[in-house]
Structures are given as C-alpha cells and as structure tokens.
C-alpha cells in the first residue's frame, strides 16, 4: 500500500510543479489532470486496502467532473486565445496591482 501512496504523492507533486513551471495554458491544464489522476490512484488504493467500494465510486465521480471541467476549461482557453491571440498565461495579467 505504501508504494501506491508514494507513487501517488510523486505524481501529484510533479503535476503541481508543472502548473508552476509551464507558461502554456494547455500544458498547465494537463498538469492539473495529472494531479487529479494521482488523487484517483490514492482513492483506488485505499478502496482496495480497506475493501470499501465507495472509493471507486468516488473515482468514478471524479472522472465525470474532470470531463466537465476540461470541457469548460478548454472552452475558456479558446475564448482567451480569440481575445488575446496567445495562450501564454503571463499575458493575461490584467488583474495586476
């Protein structure tokens, strides 16, 4: 079980790192997906170790929500691209100051 958790943690951290490092909005988004997956992995691991199926049901919901979220998020990115001509997150800093 520990190995699952360690793997989950490492993947999560890598996802977070990706959010902080990359400037491409889409790649940032993909890093967020990576984080979600790491969490799913932990859920499934716990479901297995405790014999509780609810963990897997939860993963099911997470995936559904992730789908919805990706749809909206990408639609937003497209809208931003249309307005700004770029998906560099450093360009959309109008809330500065």
């Amino acid at each position: 079980m520990i190995h699952i958790l360690i793997l989950s943690g490492v993947l999560f951290t890598l996802g977070a790192l990706g959010v902080l490092i990359r400037r491409n909005a889409i790649v940032m988004f993909m890093s967020i997906e990576l984080m979600l997956n790491a969490a799913n992995l932990a859920f499934v691991g716990f479901a297995r170790s405790m014999g509780a199926l609810s963990g897997q049901v939860f993963v099911f919901f997470v995936i559904a929500v992730a789908a919805a979220e990706v749809a909206i998020g990408l639609a937003l990115i497209v809208a931003v691209y249309r307005n700004r001509g770029s998906i560099d997150v450093d360009m959309v800093s109008d809330l500065k100051g």
Partner: protein
C-alpha cells in the same frame, strides 16, 4: 349685628382702596377727571364707613379681634399670616387716616384739576389718584397689621407711594430734576430707617421666635426681667425706623425737600398719616418700651431736640410750605418725646389733633398758592422767576381769600396751642407728663412751643395781613368750593378735636386703655396750662410787634435778621445739616462710586482683566492650540497615519501580480505549510 360680623368686615377697609387703585390704574385714563377722582374718594369714603363700623363693634366688644385673611409664610419656626388686628389703637388710627384722607381726596380733585393745567400735562391727572389709592392701601395695611412683617409691608408701601408722589412732576423742579432728586432723597433716607426696622425684626424673631405682636408681647411679659436686653435692643432699632419715617434727628432731612410734591400730598402723607406711622409703631410696641432700659430716654431726648431744632429753622423760612414742613417735624418731635416719657395716650392724642390742623394748614396753604398762581397768570405772566410759594410775594390776602383766611387762622391758633382749640389740650397733656418725668425735656418742649407760636404768627401776618407785595397777590381770588369745603370741615375738627381727650372725661384714654393696659391717666395741671397759654400769647404778640405793626415791604430784609444776627444766619442755613451730610456721606459715597466705576470697573476689570488677561491669554492659547498643536502635531500625526496606510497598501499590492502561476505558487506554499504544521503537531 354682632361684634363678630362687624369685625369680619375689617378686611374691606383695605380692599376698597385697593380696588380703587386697580380701577384707576386700568381705566383711569378712559373715564373723565371727575370720574377718576370720585372713584378714589369713594374708595376712601367706603373705607371710612367700615372704620366706623369697626368703632361700633369695639363699642360692643372692647377687646377687639384678630381677623385672619390668609396664611403667608410658613417656614420652619417662622409663621406669619395676613391678619388684621382690630383693637382700639388701630381703630383710632383707621378713623383718622380714612377720615382726614377722605377730605384730602375731595380737595385733591379740585386742586389737581388746576395743577395739571398749570404744569402743562392734563393727561397725568388719573395717575395722581392711582398713587393716592396705593398710598391709602399701604397705610391701612400698616395700621391694621397684626405682626411686624405685615406692618412692614405697609411701611415699605407708604415709602414707595411717598416717593412716587413727591416726584409726581418728575421732569420739573430745579434744573428740571429737582423734584426727582427730592423723591430720591426721601426714599434713601427712609431706607436707612427701614434698615433699623429690619434689624429690629431680626432680633425679635431670634429672641422671641415669632413676629406677631400679641405673641411677642405676651412672651415678653412672661419673661419679665430676662427680656430686658432684647427689648432694649429691639426698641432702639425700631426707633431708628421711626426716626426715618417720622423725620427725627438725624433722619429728618428728607421732609422739607418732600414739599416738592403737590400740596395734597404734603397734607396727607407728610402731615397727617405717613409721618405719624413711626409714632403709631412705637406706641404699638409700648409693652417692649416699658421693659426697655435706655431706649425711652433716648427717644425722649431725640424728640425734644428735634422739636426745638425744627422750630428754630422754621423761623427763617420764606416758603409757605417749608414753614409748615419744619413745623411738622417739630410737632412730630413733641409726639416722639411723649412716647419717650411714657405718655402714650398723649402722643396719640396729639397725633390725631395734629392731623386735623396740620392737614388744614397744608390744604389752606395750597389754596393760597393756587390763588396766587391764578393771580400771576392774570397779571404778571411775563415774569420768569415767580415762585407762588414764596411768602414775600404775598400779603393782604385776608380780604381777597376770606374763607381761606379764617380757616388758616383757626389752624394756626390750634397749632400754637391756644385754648380751647385742639392743639391746646393735646400739647398740654404732653407737657404735663413731661414735667413729672423729665424736667429737661419739659423745658426744651416749652421753648419749642414758644417758637411754634411765634413762627405761626409770623406766617399768618406775612401772608394775610399788610399790603400785597406783588401784582399776583393783588389779583388773588378765593378758591373753588371743592377745595374750600374740606377746609371748613377740617377747621371744625381742629376746633372740636380737643374733646377727644378733654380732661375730666378722657374718652380717648379710656378707649386706648383697652389696648395699652398699663397707662396712667394723664392729669391736668392747671399751672402748666396757664403758663403755656401765656407764653403762646406772648409769642404771638412778639410776632405782631415785628411783622404786624409795620407791614413788610417786598424785598425788605426780614425783621428778625437784624435782631438775631449770627443766629439768623445759622437758622437761615438750616444749621448746615444738609451740608454736613453732603460732606460726610454723600460726597464720599459719590467719589467711591466714581472710583469703583472708573477705576475698578472700567480700567481694572474691563481694560486689564477682560482685555489683557482673559481675552489676550485666550487668544494666545487658541492660537497655540491651532497652529502648534493642531497644525504641527495632530495634522502630522494623521497625515502620517494616512501615508503609512498608503505605503502598506502599495507594499501589499506587490503581491497582486496578475500572474496565475504566482497565485498557484501561493496556494502551493500554503499547502506545504499546512501539511508541515499537521506533521509537526
């Protein structure tokens, strides 16, 4: 009609004049002159009727009664009520005041009708009767009050009315202010006396615990010897009050000046009623006087001295009313001396008789003055400096004003003490008592009586005999009936007044014995009576020698002047009493007042304290507060706070980069910190 019902009518005696006062005050200007005069006279007339009823009631019940009207003061131990004490003494005064007062009211209607036209302000007529009714109300309160405090209300009231009436023509007189000054002098000198009265009241309350006459006197009797010091002190201060009101030494200086008022005022207030209030008050306090040690002697001495002093000054007066004024002071001295030697009945007797003939003399003098004024208007109206009061412009009026002459003669003889007129009996009683008790006083009074007869003779001779000394006197005519009729009535009283206490029957003595328990019956000493009568006749003869044999020419010096020499100068200058007061008190007071006003108030308080100390330091303080404290410190402080906030804000605004990744980094940092915290705890 029981005595009680009659007694219960007593408050009306004050109410009627009070209503007259209010009526004339409110409506006097709207009704005619005659109307205002009639209202006032009717008020007094009704009061006279009530007084007679009280007299009748006393016949039924000689002990009298106390009529309660209302509660007044109830403070701690002090309880004073509005109550009237109807006993023989107060009813004697009531009858005299309302009777003589009524006659003077009627006279005043005619007199003031002419006077307001002479002085040029006919609309002022009703005001006279307003003041007159106010005076009557106050005098009757004084006479009927049952406690020191109620009497004092009346006391002050008559003082006020006297002031108002003396200064009736306030814009006239010497330099346009003389009358007002006379009124002011009367009021202020009276005030000194009032202070004595107040102190006496304070001592009375402090010692006896009450201010009602009956209670004080019964307490005093009960305490006997223990109350002697208190009684002495009280009576001494009461005498100061009496000296003020009844014009004795040293407070007599206001009365001659008070002649500035219209003649009815002089007759009523300064001859018959107000000035006698002091004597009445002292007689009322007879029980205390009997207890006191020093005071009666002082009273007798002062009274006698005043009688002589005033008589001497009267010798050298040329103003007809001034002679009568000093005569009044002198006669008041007789009454006060009588009180001092314990002859209370004699004092009251002389008071009543004097009211009759002095009122008569004043009113007749008024008639003479009016007549001369009329004559002046007919003949001499061009002359500027004409003084109708001056006896030197009169003369030979005997044929021109017959009735006035006869009544004046009766009055003068009564005053001189010629039997069987009223003054003889009353003056004689006093002299008889004095010869027993205090020979010094007796001889002084005898000398004063001698002078009295002399100056009255002088006056009659100068005014009515000889030849007229001016065109105005030539053109004088008799006064109208409204003025002459009361004169006749008073003359009758002056003639028959002696019967009030004629020796043998002594009705007044019996009457007053109900109230003043301890009085002895006055005796009739024939030797003294004869002596004084002879002196009076001799005095009149002397006057005739000087003034009658060779009629005086106008502008000639007075015959006495040559004969008396330096004494004449002294009495001409009234023994310099007024000048002495002026030097001693008035001048000092005025300079003190001036110093206080100019130096203390103006320079010190206004200029220095107000302007420099207060205002300047205030301005400096506020200037410091504004520029130093406010501008430099407080403003900077708050500005600094604002700047600090701004800097803090701009410092914090650095965090608002607008970059998503920075915000994500912040979240990440938060996450790490929370986990560390959870791990470490």
């Amino acid at each position: 009609m029981t005595a009680d019902t009659l007694f219960s009518l007593a408050p009306l005696v004050i109410l009627f004049p009070l209503l007259g006062f209010v009526f004339n005050l409110v409506a006097g200007r709207r009704i005619s002159e005659r109307g205002a005069g009639i209202v006032a006279s009717a008020a007094v007339g009704l009061a006279f009727v009530i007084s007679i009823l009280q007299f009748v009631a006393l016949g039924l019940d000689p002990a009298g009664a106390t009529i309660h009207i209302a509660e007044w003061i109830v403070v701690g131990e002090l309880e004073v009520d509005w109550a009237l004490q109807i006993d023989t003494l107060s009813v004697t005064m009531l009858l005299m005041v309302t009777g003589v007062g009524g006659l003077i009211h009627i006279y005043a209607i005619g007199y003031m009708h002419d006077d307001v036209r002479f002085q040029g302000d006919p609309s002022r007529f009703p005001r006279f009767f307003v003041y007159f009714s106010l005076f009557m109300t106050a005098m009757l309160i004084l006479v009927t009050g049952n406690s020191y405090l109620t009497m004092f209300v009346g006391w002050e009231g008559v003082g006020l009315s006297s002031y108002l009436l003396i200064s009736f023509w306030y814009e006239k007189g010497e330099k346009g202010i003389g009358n007002a000054l006379a009124g002011k002098k009367a009021f202020i000198v009276n005030r000194v006396g009032d202070l004595g009265f107040i102190i006496a009241m304070l001592i009375t309350f402090w010692f006896f615990g009450t201010l009602t006459f009956e209670e004080v006197f019964s307490e005093a009797e009960a305490m006997g010897a223990a109350a002697v010091t208190a009684a002495t002190a009280i009576t001494l201060f009461l005498f100061v009050g009496a000296a003020g009101k009844s014009a004795q030494i040293p407070l007599f200086v206001w009365l001659p000046d008070a002649m500035a008022g219209p003649t009815p005022v002089s007759a009523l207030i300064h001859a018959a009623t107000m000035v006698t209030a002091g004597i009445y008050m002292l007689v009322r306090n007879a029980p205390l006087l009997e207890l006191a040690t020093v005071t009666p002697n002082i009273i007798a001495i002062v009274g006698a001295a005043t009688a002589l002093l005033a008589a001497s000054i009267a010798l050298a007066r040329f103003d007809i009313k001034r002679v009568l004024a000093y005569s009044t002071i002198s006669q008041l001295g007789f009454m006060i001396a009588a009180v001092g030697i314990g002859a209370y009945v004699a004092a009251i007797f002389h008071l009543v008789a004097h009211a009759f003939f002095k009122a008569l003399l004043f009113l007749s003098a008024g008639s003479v003055i009016q007549g001369v004024e009329h004559g002046h208007h007919h003949e001499d109206s061009a002359e500027e400096d004409f003084n109708p009061n001056d006896m030197r412009v009169m003369g030979g009026l005997r044929t021109r004003m017959k009735v006035t002459f006869w009544v004046y003669l009766i009055g003068a003889l009564a005053l001189a003490g010629i039997p069987p007129l009223a003054g003889f009996f009353s003056k004689d009683e006093i002299l008889a008592d004095a010869s027993h008790v205090n020979p010094a006083v007796y001889w002084v009074l005898v000398l004063a009586a001698f002078l009295t007869a002399f100056y009255m003779g002088r006056q009659v001779l100068m005014v009515f005999f000889g030849k007229p000394r001016s065109k105005a006197a030539e053109a004088t005519k008799e006064s109208p009936a409204t003025m002459v009729a009361p004169l006749v009535a008073l003359a009758v009283l002056a003639v028959g007044g002696g019967l009030i206490n004629a020796p043998g029957l002594l009705p007044l003595t019996r009457f007053l014995q109900e109230t003043l328990a301890d009085i002895e019956e006055p005796e009739f000493i024939a030797a003294i009576a004869i002596l004084t009568t002879l002196l009076a006749l001799a005095s009149i003869g002397l006057a005739w020698l000087l003034y009658g044999r060779r009629p005086i020419k106008s502008r000639a010096p007075d015959p006495l002047q040559a004969r008396l020499g330096p004494v004449w100068i002294a009495i001409r200058h009234r023994w310099w009493v007024d000048e002495f007061y002026d030097w001693l008190i008035v001048r000092r007071y005025v300079s003190l007042a001036r110093w206080l006003a100019e130096v203390a108030d103006e320079r010190f308080l206004h200029d220095w304290v107000h302007d420099r100390v207060i205002a300047l330091s205030y301005f400096r303080a506020t200037h410091w507060l504004a520029s130093v404290l406010d501008l430099r410190f407080i403003d900077r402080g708050f500005d600094g706070l604002g700047a600090l906030t701004r800097r803090g804000a701009s410092g914090l605004a650095v965090l608002q980069t607008g970059y998503v990744r920075n915000y994500a980094a912040a979240v990440f940092i938060g996450l790490v910190l929370v986990v560390s915290y959870l791990l470490l705890s």
